[in-house]
Point group: C2
Chain length 443, copies 2
């Protein structure tokens, strides 16, 4: 293709708004058109199949635009579930020491094992799975649960069917779309054709009716759930395991919020006997230890989990981790290990308790205003129902009137329409101020 | 499926050896068979299509087995290209300070932008692409080039054709296989049917004959090349850009070793006018600043790069990064920023120079022994030819006789057969001792 022939090549105007930290969608365009060399490489049909920008950057963009319009407003961010409280000193000291040691001959470390440092894998197995027969070599340390979701998607064959809770963390569906297993999007339902949506709402106590749920190869299940804040009970998780077993499905169980459980709900799917034969568990230090920016998580791939031909899934996942990943930062891993020392564990638990108290304050305040509130007891999220209203309308109204950022529930799936999610990750001062403003707005 | 019916479900014996840090392939097996619940989820045909374990863990395993057999041998690891020298204090101090600050209210940081911290993106653009019109918003900071390769593979449609240098870094082909675009493997040639192999050998000065190279949608090109150590000249890279332009291809240019260039070869593909319309560049702090364990890299996605329909690739890549990644560790990013300060840059350049001197010593020693040596001048790798011999035989013989670990060239592709790669990442003492032993062996 000659350069002179390229003038017909048009930059398609984006339907989405630019994000605050990128400006390429505005730059060098002329009325949304762009002239230049086009490659002959087609855009992936899977990428084309994505319906909207990823939810959280979209929220950041709304925050940004609001603060541009209201430069003097004291914005309170209870939207994206971002931790705000300092990491205990015992943990940061371990990371700082590890970093400093890298400048010495004795302390320098290059590549670690892709699967994670043995000591950390052992500490995770012992501290968090002590009575569950999870072995350290079944634990793959990573840079976070969201990244592991994609690696698990790469692991799986292209013809997999997928089930998700509705509502659910958007990366489950979006990564399924990117890997080409979601099917066609239906505007009228807001659903992808090949995805099984498992409704979770107050009527079913936020646990899907498995008797009417179609079989899927892969079941994404997050408990405590983001965004509803609901933790499935031991009997419910047992039902889920039995459902997967009888259907020959694999559960990908997201326990990233398990530290927030206050009742007897299981903190890991492996508390259920036989779960190792049907479930992978992903989890994270993000909300457990304030590592959202430090980046550390893990996936448990039990050796008992087998494909239909008897081949152990762990062997393929190990291959994915070695080929597509190179291990989590060794500094973050040093921090993770410090979190699991007895003193470190107590210290990070104190921070979790602080956020749990925040959640209680939000839950009780909104409840006292007569709003329909859910979650908040086993999770740092409060799920608020505004029957008959649009989530985005409620989100916008709260933002305009109180300068409090929440998240529209419809961003988590069709069943989330009419809800907003309020995060408890803030300083106590911010939480109290936000509840004061919400009280004024709703009373 | 009832549990009692599952006893016929057999664990298929693995043909690959266990790795030192995993023992699941040995555990709980009985003559290679395994009894247990099988899911009904099929193993991915793409994973089945992978021909061998990933090269580098395989090398670690060989090292491990050798040291078990020879517990008193002083093993010298010049195999996997793992950095060994301390990171300059100015860089580790910045990371330690950042880590320590996370325990304070003022210094705590949660999620950063998925694309990386603005300051770091700006520093990369200014320091490393100053005269090339690469903008900071075109730079996506990551946890390393190997991880970015997989994210780029996810970006691309499933029917892409791929070209790679032969020999090349194995993640290019392996990730293509995992994403299902490699085609059938042919035992007789050692090649995948849908991959275009671009031969690089002494006869063509390690630069492929583009006149006889078939078109591919994606061209992976690594310069300075791992493993051959050869850096393409400005005129050669220009040829490559023109080749991609005339074919409508996208180049994924890996410049991870550019800090090792000693001559006038381009350090970035964007030194070539027009390259932004055809090339993505991946790069890394791993070999540039000893960050193999710290984990930090970046990808440049120029806004000029367009799909055949005119849609900018950067928009889709941004979506991938937001959905499948959550940003590099903020501590590692603080280190990256310190590397790009003038004092930091000088300090890390000194370490690169140290490795370059190592490379010179290895190159000259092996050359003086009459061996056919290549590379080593623009890269930390020396590529040694043993015509008519098997790479693995040479690898084993060197390991047995000298306790020096190298890497068999055949692990990098069929053209690598008969070669070994020797890494210059070691202390001077180790390098001198290794060359003494190799001298004894080969003279």
């Amino acid at each position: 293709m000659l350069y002179s022939q390229l003038s017909l090549c048009i930059f398609r105007a984006s339907v989405v708004s630019p994000q605050p930290n990128t400006n390429w969608s505005r730059s060098k365009s002329n009325n949304g058109r762009r002239v230049g060399h086009c490659t002959k490489v087609s855009r992936s049909v899977n990428m084309e199949n994505l319906q909207s920008e990823y939810l959280f950057p979209e929220i950041f963009m709304r925050e940004y635009e609001h603060s541009q319009k209201n430069p003097h407003a004291n914005l309170i961010r209870l939207g994206v579930g971002d931790t705000t409280q300092p990491i205990p000193d015992i943990v940061t000291k371990a990371m700082a020491q590890h970093a400093q040691n890298l400048s010495t001959v004795e302390g320098y470390k290059g590549y670690g094992a892709e699967q994670g440092n043995t000591e950390l894998r052992m500490a995770i197995a012992e501290t968090l799975y002590g009575n569950m027969d999870v072995k350290s070599h079944e634990i793959f340390v990573s840079d976070g649960a969201q990244c592991d979701i994609s690696r698990l998607q790469m692991l799986l064959g292209s013809n997999m069917t997928v089930a998700v809770q509705d509502p659910s963390f958007p990366a489950f569906i979006d990564s399924s779309v990117i890997l080409g297993r979601a099917g066609k999007f239906h505007e009228e339902t807001g659903k992808y054709g090949n995805i099984v949506y498992m409704n979770c709402n107050p009527e079913n106590d936020f646990f899907p009716d498995l008797q009417t749920t179609s079989r899927a190869d892969i079941i994404f299940f997050c408990s405590p759930n983001n965004p509803t804040g609901y933790a499935a009970s031991w009997h419910q998780v047992k039902q889920l395991v039995e459902f997967a077993k009888s259907n020959g499905s694999i559960i990908i169980y997201d326990s990233s919020y398990s530290a927030y459980i206050s009742d007897y709900s299981p903190r890991s799917i492996y508390e259920i006997p036989g779960a190792k034969e049907v479930a992978i568990e992903i989890s994270s230090f993000s909300k457990f230890a304030g590592f959202t920016g430090v980046r550390l998580g893990w996936t448990v791939l039990p050796e008992e989990l087998l494909y239909s031909n008897g081949f152990p899934v762990i062997k393929d996942y190990n291959r994915i981790v070695c080929t597509c990943f190179n291990g989590a930062s060794n500094i973050a891993q040093a921090g993770g290990l410090a979190c699991l020392s007895s003193q470190g564990y107590q210290a990070i638990t104190n921070v979790v308790d602080y956020y749990k108290e925040n959640a209680k304050i939000i839950y009780e305040t909104l409840g006292s205003l007569g709003l329909k509130v859910y979650g908040g007891k086993n999770a740092p999220y409060i799920w608020v129902h505004f029957p008959g209203r649009s989530s985005w309308d409620v989100f916008n109204e709260i933002l305009e009137r109180t300068h409090v950022v929440t998240i529209p529930g419809s961003g988590f799936g069709p069943v989330g329409e009419g809800y907003i999610r309020v995060s408890a990750f803030g300083s106590r001062e911010c939480i109290l101020e936000a509840t004061r403003r919400l009280k004024t707005m709703f009373s």
